[in-house]
């Protein structure tokens, strides 16, 4: 409460509820509702006069009697009839049917529109004291009430316009209420706990394309003996809490007993929570918003009995779910919570909806199955870390690392990093799964931000020389060192500064990407699906950059490599990626996608789309097969011969000028190798005596320095810089 006006608003609301509660306490089964908000008019009153205002007392209305028909209820007679015959049609007098007492779950199913224009709309006014203040000096909220026709239109949902849609009902028990004021957890257990339960219901329904979404958040009464659930939404125009007893008991059997039981339950709840005392401004605003933007609904559900169990077995199952000890409960064969029939009716919008095929597993079972999935995911991460380590071990020299595509691993890293963030977010949302979620998040985070980033840093460091170099030069395999026009990089950054910039980039990308994903979950279905498909396709193209990189670096075919490796130390010519890494990574990364898209009852409630998975698998297979063909045929087989320029060759004859310019070694026709400080015999074009020297025994750098082949190759395992003049060297 931040102003006098709001204080008065709250006081008015509390006052209103207290008055109505007094009426409620004195109400008996044979009494009608008197001045309770939203229940002043009955359906018959509206038929008599469609412009009837909701006033109390209505002239000529009989308040001392109550019958379950449209003269006294907000429901029309044929809806009452439908509820009696189609929804709540099992009386269960003899208690032959058993219903589970604990039904915490999320039920999913289909919803169909029965009619949205057949029934008269009951006028439900909103008291004007709910309206926000119009200027700062206003202290007293206005009196009176307003009707729907007088409200300004803000695109509210006062109708249901689709024929078929999907519904999700989240049921949670109110046995564990949190006190708003002092945050003490107290258990609310009513006296007839084994017969009646108070539930919280969150109902969302929408059409298939999610263009029109309705959501109702309401309290409900669960009749364990008969398996019936009644829920009535509540807002500033409809105080449904006081309507529960009458609407629960409008069948002809046991009606007075049910009425008294439910009334007692509601009264207990009222007293336990100090209902009016704990109201806050938020309640005022919520009630006002709900009244303005939504229809009120009465929801009638009938559960399917669990007759295959005895009462003791159901208790055992409940205990085991609540506090697992390994009791012999056989939870895997537990039937779902199944709503056999259901009906939604909105009195103020005149909409009637029917439910079918609504079911879901118990919440605890759901958690268990998610935990299993998470454990499997952790195993996948561990396998990925292992594969990455072997891959890092395989490419332990800068020359090898140089052949690996930076973007390939950036993409993999981005996916892992955003998964870690999503896991962290989820861990704070789902406290039951905190431990496995945090473990997943950490394993993912270690993989992404430590191993992959380290690898990326070394890749980046080995490729620093190639910045600002055109693709043709790269294809030639030289880094443009003897291109005098190009300014040489003033300094070559060390790994520390590269690491800093890469980490910065990583976290920035991560945050952007995670926000994008999180926000995309609330987009309309069409857009979301397009986004999802494109994103998955792009993120699963991670071998494409590597294919290009291979082509640029020009790895010879397998046969040539085998031939050249006979000659000597040709280990530099290996394929940069291990095949176990390629295949393992592909499998690890596509398994979750395949699961989500092909297994129709997956834990993410994702729709099934086998075509996409087949397409994606073929795409991945295509990438791998190209990688394989590069391995076998050489990485440039698909490029025409004339487009491939010659690469820099370290092995070439030298001229006599070179010797005279640089001086020779101790013996004739030799130079000093700066690494081992001994003579290098060289092939000099002009002098035929030297022509028996193997050109492969020494190497000439682009900066015209000569070394033994073994010496320079060993050096190039550490750094791609000339040992003499520090100018960059093209990798082998």
């Amino acid at each position: 409460v931040s102003s006098q006006y709001e204080f008065n608003q709250l006081q008015r609301l509390k006052q209103q509820f207290r008055t109505e509660h007094n009426t409620f306490v004195n109400m008996t089964y044979t009494d009608s509702f008197r001045n309770i908000t939203g229940l002043k008019l009955s359906y018959q009153d509206m038929l008599n006069n469609p412009l009837q205002n909701a006033t109390y007392p209505l002239p000529g209305k009989d308040y001392d009697r109550w019958f379950p028909n449209q003269n006294y209820m907000v429901l029309p007679n044929d809806v009452i009839e439908a509820i009696n015959t189609e929804v709540w049609n099992t009386s269960n007098d003899d208690a032959s049917n058993l219903f589970p007492p604990n039904i915490t779950s999320t039920l999913l199913g289909k919803i169909d529109l029965v009619s949205n224009n057949k029934y008269e709309k009951i006028r439900m006014p909103v008291p004007r004291f709910y309206e926000p203040a119009t200027d700062f000096s206003e202290d007293i909220p206005p009196e009176g009430e307003t009707y729907w026709s007088e409200w300004p239109s803000y695109g509210e949902l006062h109708n249901v316009s689709f024929q078929h849609g999907e519904i999700a009902i989240q049921i949670s028990h109110m046995s564990n209420l949190q006190d708003n004021n002092n945050y003490l957890r107290r258990n609310f257990i009513n006296k007839k706990n084994d017969r009646w339960k108070l539930l919280n219901l969150q109902i969302d329904f929408s059409d298939k394309a999610e263009k029109e979404k309705h959501s109702i958040y309401s309290k409900a009464v669960y009749d364990i003996q008969r398996g019936r659930i009644l829920s009535i939404s509540q807002s500033s125009k409809f105080h449904s809490l006081f309507a529960l007893p009458h609407y629960m008991s409008f069948q002809n059997d046991y009606n007075e007993k049910i009425f008294n039981d439910v009334k007692e339950l509601v009264d207990e709840f009222w007293n336990f929570t100090d209902y009016t005392d704990v109201m806050t401004m938020k309640d005022v605003q919520d009630a006002y918003n709900n009244a303005n933007f939504k229809c009120e609904y009465l929801i009638f559900l009938q559960l399917e009995p669990w007759n295959q169990y005895t009462r003791d077995q159901i208790k055992l199952i409940d205990d085991e779910l609540n506090w697992p000890l390994g009791r012999p409960a056989n939870l895997s064969s537990l039937p779902p919570i199944n709503v056999v029939s259901g009906l939604l009716y909105s009195p103020d919008c005149g909409v009637r909806l029917g439910l079918h095929n609504v079911k879901g597993t118990r919440y605890e079972l759901k958690i268990m199955s998610i935990r299993k999935h998470l454990l499997f995911g952790i195993a996948l991460f561990a396998a990925q870390i292992y594969l990455l380590l072997t891959q890092m071990h395989h490419t332990n020299t800068p020359s090898m690392v140089n052949k690996i595509s930076f973007y390939c691993f950036s993409m993999i890293n981005l996916v892992d990093g955003s998964l870690a963030t999503l896991y962290f977010v989820a861990a704070s949302v789902v406290p039951e799964l905190y431990l496995p979620l945090v473990i997943s998040a950490f394993s993912c985070f270690i993989l992404a931000s430590i191993f992959e980033i380290r690898y990326l840093i070394s890749i980046y460091a080995s490729q620093v020389n190639e910045q600002n170099v055109g693709i043709i030069n790269l294809l030639r395999g030289n880094t443009g060192t003897y291109d005098e026009n190009r300014p040489r990089p003033a300094f070559i950054p060390d790994e520390g500064s590269i690491g800093g910039s890469l980490y910065g980039r990583f976290f920035f990308m991560l945050i952007i990407f995670t926000f994008l994903i999180l926000s995309s979950t609330s987009w309309p279905r069409q857009l979301r699906m397009v986004f999802e498909y494109i994103l998955i396709f792009i993120l699963n193209s991670y071998w494409i950059p590597q294919i290009f990189r291979n082509a640029v670096k020009g790895i010879p075919s397998r046969r040539e490599r085998a031939r050249s490796s006979i000659g000597g130390n040709r280990s530099q010519n290996k394929m940069p990626l291990l095949w176990s890494f390629v295949i393992g990574t592909t499998i690890i990364r596509s398994l979750p996608v395949v699961y989500v898209f092909t297994y129709s009852s997956n834990v993410f409630r994702h729709h099934k789309d086998v075509h996409f998975v087949v397409f994606l698998s073929l795409w991945l297979l295509f990438q791998i097969s190209i990688l394989y063909s590069q391995d076998v045929l050489g990485s440039r087989w698909f490029l025409p011969k004339h487009t491939i320029p010659d690469g820099y060759s370290y092995f070439k004859p030298l001229s006599n000028e070179y010797i005279s310019e640089h001086g020779g070694g101790t013996a004739e026709h030799t130079v000093d190798c700066a690494i081992c400080m001994s003579d290098v015999p060289i092939y000099i074009e002009e002098i035929p005596e030297t022509h028996k020297v193997d050109q492969h025994s020494y190497m000439v750098t682009p900066c015209n320095h000569v070394f033994h082949t073994s010496c320079l190759e060993n050096w190039m395992n550490y750094k791609l810089q000339c040992p003499v003049c520090r100018s960059p060297l093209p990798p082998l």
Binding site: G326, L389, L435, R454
Partner: protein
């Protein structure tokens, strides 16, 4: 055999296995939320549900974290036993202890509950968790066969009257309490903590297990003298963790030429020590001595001799360092 065991768990595969099991099983169980299957109680689980598999597994995982840590520490202290008995015999002893203590505790529990436990309040319902029975059975062997190496006294002086007597340490004080503490006091303390931590069930099961240990040792419960667990020799092939075997194991990890040279020297040295008279002549030539302080000095002249093995854990750490 020297007074100090080699530090660490090299060449102690059974101790390593026991410690890893003690620590990893509870961790995995709690991540997977399956810790409750290690809980053993007579009343619902054995009597009503007939879940006898709990008897087989309850010693593998301690429910409480404090028990887990204490048990891991005790297993580490028990590596003297592995040194003494050799890995194969030690493993056999552990398995025998496991079988006999489980049977003993279960049998006595059945007998008790059949005769005395008719009344609800006399029923013996709770069992210990974790490998407490095995450990207590091994305590007997530890006490029996591990020599006490040193001891010291702690004198707790009562409050003195004035400063006059404060400096006079020599004078016998009647109120002084003297505690004699030996090198095994850490183990004793841990065992006591372990037992008390689990309350009455800990004391009862501990006592029964200790008796089992004595009976195994005396041959009343057969097996230790003639039988060994088959088919495990590959995993514990290096024999008792003598200094030579430790070096062999280290060599298997490093597998460098220099290390191999060290091992040869060490083996030669111990070979001499075992066969010949252990006079000064049989002392090792190249400095691979029997004192623990300079075990690694053997290969000082060769480069890479003291280069440690790089197992997976070290490789992980190197990833951060480099």
């Amino acid at each position: 055999m020297s007074m100090e065991p080699p530090v660490g768990l090299t060449a102690m595969p059974v101790t390593k296995l026991a410690m890893i099991t003690t620590l990893v099983v509870p961790l995995v169980a709690s991540i997977a939320s399956y810790k409750h299957i290690f809980l053993l109680q007579y009343d619902p689980f054995l009597q009503t549900y007939h879940q006898y598999y709990r008897l087989l597994i309850f010693q593998f995982c301690a429910i409480n974290e404090s028990d887990t840590v204490i048990l891991a520490l005790i297993w580490y202290l028990f590596r003297h036993l592995e040194r003494l008995l050799g890995s194969h015999k030690y493993l056999t002893l552990i398995v025998l202890s496991w079988a006999y203590t489980t049977l003993g505790i279960w049998g006595l529990n059945l007998i008790w509950n059949a005769f005395i436990g008719q009344y609800k309040w006399l029923q013996w319902n709770n069992f210990s968790t974790g490998s407490l029975p095995i450990v207590l059975s091994l305590v007997h062997f530890y006490k029996e066969y591990t020599p006490q190496i040193y001891e010291w006294n702690i004198r707790l002086l009562g409050p003195r009257g004035g400063a006059s007597s404060h400096n006079d340490n020599k004078r016998e004080d009647k109120s002084a309490v003297e505690w004699k503490i030996n090198d095994q006091f850490l183990l004793n303390g841990l065992i006591l903590l372990l037992i008390l931590n689990q309350g009455f069930a800990g004391i009862l099961c501990g006592f029964i297990s200790w008796m089992c240990g004595i009976f195994i040792d005396k041959g009343l419960l057969p097996g230790l003298d003639h039988w060994r667990i088959p088919f495990v020799s590959y995993f514990i092939s290096q024999g008792p963790p003598t200094r030579a075997n430790v070096a062999i194991a280290a060599n298997a990890a490093t597998n460098t030429a220099a290390a191999r040279a060290t091992v040869e020297a060490a083996t030669a040295a111990t070979g001499n020590g075992n066969t010949g008279n252990s006079g000064p002549t049989s002392l090792p030539l190249r400095g691979s001595s029997t004192t623990p302080t300079n075990t690694s000095s053997a290969g000082d002249d060769e480069p890479g001799a003291d280069e440690p093995a790089r197992p997976l854990g070290v490789q992980f750490l190197d990833t951060f360092r480099r």
